[in-house]
Point group: C2
Chain length 334, copies 2
Amino acid sequence: IKYYQLGDFELQSGEILPAAYIAYLTYGSPTNPCVLYPTWYSGTIVAGNEWLISTPEHPRRALDPERYFIVVPALFGNGESTSPSNTTGPKGGVNMPKTTFYDNVKAQHQLLTQGLGITDQIAVLGWSMGAGQAFQWASQYPDMVKLAVPFCGSARTSFHNWVFLEAVKGAILADTEGYCSGRYMEEKGKQPLVGLKTLGRVYAGWGFSQAFYREKGFEKYYGIEGIERVMVEFWEKWSTSKDANNMLHMLWTWQHGDISAQPLYAGKALKGIQGKVLIMPCDNDLYFPPEDSQIEKDYIGDNAELKVIKSIWGHWAGGPGDSKEDVEFLDDSI
Amino acid sequence: IKYYQLGDFELQSGEILPAAYIAYLTYGSPTNPCVLYPTWYSGTIVAGNEWLISTPEHPRRALDPERYFIVVPALFGNGESTSPSNTTGPKGGVNMPKTTFYDNVKAQHQLLTQGLGITDQIAVLGWSMGAGQAFQWASQYPDMVKLAVPFCGSARTSFHNWVFLEAVKGAILADTEGYCSGRYMEEKGKQPLVGLKTLGRVYAGWGFSQAFYREKGFEKYYGIEGIERVMVEFWEKWSTSKDANNMLHMLWTWQHGDISAQPLYAGKALKGIQGKVLIMPCDNDLYFPPEDSQIEKDYIGDNAELKVIKSIWGHWAGGPGDSKEDVEFLDDSI
């Protein structure tokens, strides 16, 4: 894991994020064409994004370090880049200034150009919030992005998606006793476990599709029997491994996702994209439905292509490598 | 509002619900054919189910009191029939024994046959948990139900639906401070408001479809502008008008909805239905998707018909009268 120091970093809001940094990983040689592959909601760069990256064990994945220089940067708030959980002082913890996709992409641009000396055009691809960053890159640095591949994500967070996230947020905030207005570490020395578990259960109905549960995907793919055990062994296990303020920080970024909310554009950001865009939603995704992707494709125009992943996995179709068929579909498409 | 006394009522679990009663309303003359029209999750019989009932102002609705004897019974736990909120003593409040659809329908059967002297066949129709009761009736008293019309509901609660309800339940339980293990009235003299508000926000993403939010149905139909105001003025307003233990009681009933879980059947309850069944799901319903209804129709066989409500309203398509076009579709179909 490497770190790029951003110094006192000015955010879109005007606030300063003091001594900010991005955590990142690279694969392959910097002499090859660069592929940027940012993280998703709660995703990490260590044991996080590798499901599309070729390895000796899985030599035929889309992103081959023999051919590309793959850079995986961590989102602000994911616990690896500057985050509530690793920042102390007056702007640490729950008081860390909010960051947008714009801020993340600006920081990543600095990492690539100033930190890694990349001057050629790049490809950006990502799942979910990673897709949000791919869209953001293509509109924020249109002449630098040759190809963007957002899968299971959007250029602007829809109302319905925002509403779904209210439920995720509410799960933590409802645990007033455990969350302590965000000062749980200072006051209790531990995470708000009730809230984090609830977050897992709230997410459970959204992450996988109705069809996934109907066909008992949890048994078939994870070997978990019984729906209550799926809650505990899959969803709560995931959510309780996270920091509550980090989850709320990234959630804020997601809720405010909107590539037109930047100086360059006034509601026409999709038209400003110059590179090619391959948009891949999953037909059963409950919070990034393919209808939204279709609308975004229509706005972008001829340089965009829509390719729907047909899968019962729902949002997890693009997800962290559990759905092997869908990963193959992605590999073949990219 | 009328009450039918059930006395000490034995539940499917073997537990006794002491001095139990059903609250109900009737419309029209008991000499006409009987239509039973049970309530939905959180629904009440006062200002609750009337959107399909003809009135002087709305004379052309499906259920005409001039032609039918309409009986609207309240679910156990809805606050009108025996409920945590209106029961004191050792089996009151959070300690009220859990009730199933089987129990509700057994009690309603007693009301109709012994209380109201109805011996002819009846029609049963209902939305959501009302649909669950319609299915339950058709299998529990197959020779008494001539026609069942379940809309936006199911005969057995699916895994995904169960998971969605975990989130609804979690909203209240996460508010450990306000909920006080269910003794909020005894210990604090007030409802767990944080939890109930969260419940409203959790429900918000499920009740209306993605398309409804995309097309700003909240502005168009309710005149509410801005998505945060929809949370407060629609969803929190609804959820904070309820009692937390009542909501959890009915939720348990819903999660355990399964018409095959009764002495009469072993996994084949749908085949035991003798009357006609008109199943009407909404194509955009996120927790009772039409695919599930199709499966149930196939099990029932020739006496079942599936008619999909095409609507952006999602679950609310069959819902409490807000979607006027969908109500007309229902009226015309019944």
